[in-house]
């Protein structure tokens, strides 16, 4: 029961141990303590999805989750979706090919949310995709190309799109 905690998490496949304030959200711990800056701070309420990361495979809002709550867990952020050799995954390539980013602020959360959907397997209609992604907001309103990219990733490789 201290103000500071030493936490160990696996971040994008790499074990990381760091000391930080007990009050730090996972997002702040990632960005400010271990300098993994692809998840973004948007609303601070779990609504916009810019901070989406995978914790043990499940999408969560890292802005409303304390790092202390998930110590010992495996965290994957957008940059951790790349192939092992560092090349872009199928899903990342699809986002690139379909111009699925405008200002880019929502993109790290959007692509992590999409990766979680692909990892569930199966296929989804465009309507089902919209519903599944309703918790990720793009303030440029670039939803069309984003859905195009995810549909292309489904079509080209399904689960392999996770890379």
């Amino acid at each position: 029961m201290t103000d500071e905690l030493v936490l160990t998490l696996t971040v994008n496949g790499r074990p990381v141990t760091a000391r930080g304030g007990a009050h730090l959200t996972l997002l702040r711990w990632l960005r400010d303590v271990v300098h993994v800056t692809d998840p973004k701070y948007g609303c601070g309420e779990g609504i916009c999805g810019a901070c989406t990361v995978l914790v043990d495979g499940e999408p969560v809002s890292s802005c409303i989750l304390l790092a202390a709550q998930v110590t010992g867990s495996s965290v994957v952020t957008a940059s951790g979706l790349s192939n092992e050799d560092g090349s872009p995954s199928l899903l990342q390539r699809a986002f690139h090919a379909h111009h699925a980013a405008q200002c880019g602020f929502c993109t790290p959360g959007m692509i992590v949310a999409a990766a979680a959907l692909l990892a569930e397997g199966g296929n989804r209609s465009r309507t089902e995709l919209r519903e599944a992604l309703h918790g990720n907001l793009c303030r440029c309103t670039g939803y069309g190309p984003i859905l195009d990219a995810i549909e292309a990733a489904y079509a080209e490789g399904g689960e392999a799109g996770v890379g």
């Binding site: 007990a22 309420e45 802005c63 304390l66």
Partner: protein
């Protein structure tokens, strides 16, 4: 985002949690944190200590017992929406859980947390009110049972004392002959409902024998609509519309989202739709 630092402790049993809540100043329970952390991020709440109960084994999971589902307070919304026992035993609860927030919130948010937070438009307290569920609360020494429809007192306030936790919920199973529905309107998918309505109807030979109707978003806590329930008694499906007029027993307030008049009209519409859907479902094999 730049919040005042606080301390954190993870506990492994209920007594340990309640002792901390008694002994430590400004201590608050943390489960999923999906309502608490937004309040902290917004600077609306500054705890001294968060007591993380998420790993208390006795408060996990869903089990079926004689006539009831025993739902651990730490069951998350995604689990309630997908759990086979819940979907078969009390589908209204599973449907209500699927309406909460977005997939990320459903992965972390808990049913006990939703009850204890007591947002007046929240789905799960509404479902538990309609279902006649029992809240089992404990201070680590004694246990008491509180009816779900009496649990919330007003906006964001409940009967829970500062050193008490919601341990689990006892939810009656859906009996034979019962139909159900859960309907809500929100401005965007994932928002809190403007108005939400939960209905349970027991029907036989084409007539309503028993009705349980509750609404959220029309007052300071979810409410049973006794007048609507009485009006439905004995009705056939074709008679339902004439039995249902304006709902006079609630007094909704106007706010930034909707006027009182709009909420009142929406409530009448959702009750009409919800009752018809529940009746139809009661006739399914």
């Amino acid at each position: 985002m730049f919040v005042k630092p606080f301390r954190y402790v993870r506990v492994h049993d209920v007594a340990e949690a309640c002792d901390l809540l008694r002994d430590e100043e400004e201590a608050k329970v943390l489960a999923g944190g999906q309502s608490l952390l937004p309040l902290i991020n917004a600077g609306l709440f500054e705890p001294g200590l968060l007591v993380d109960i998420a790993h208390v084994p006795a408060m996990q999971g869903v089990a079926r017992s004689d006539g009831y589902l025993e739902v651990g307070a730490l069951a998350c919304h995604a689990e309630l929406a997908s759990n086979a026992e819940v979907r078969a035993g009390q589908p209204l609860l599973a449907r209500a859980a699927s309406h909460v927030g977005n997939p990320r919130i459903r992965n972390r948010g808990t049913i006990g947390g939703s009850l204890a937070h007591a947002d007046p438009a929240a789905e799960l307290p509404l479902a538990l009110t309609a279902l006649g569920a029992t809240v089992v609360a404990t201070d680590g020494r004694t246990v008491r049972e509180i009816k779900a429809d009496e649990f919330a007192l007003s906006y964001l306030s409940t009967q829970l004392r500062a050193d008490e936790l919601v341990a689990h919920l006892r939810v009656p199973l859906l009996g034979p002959g019962w139909g159900w529905s859960f309907t809500e309107l929100s401005r965007r998918s994932g928002d809190f409902a403007i108005v939400a309505v939960a209905v349970l109807l027991r029907c036989a030979d084409g007539h309503v024998l028993e009705a349980r109707v509750a609404a959220a978003g029309v007052g300071e806590r979810p409410v049973r609509l006794g007048g609507v329930e009485a009006a439905l008694s004995g009705a056939t499906r074709l008679e339902l519309p004439e039995r249902l007029g304006p709902v006079r027993e609630v007094d909704p307030a106007s706010d930034a989202v909707a006027s009182a008049e709009y909420r009142r009209g929406l409530l009448a519409t959702l009750v009409r739709r919800g009752v018809d859907e529940a009746f139809a479902r009661s006739e399914e094999p």
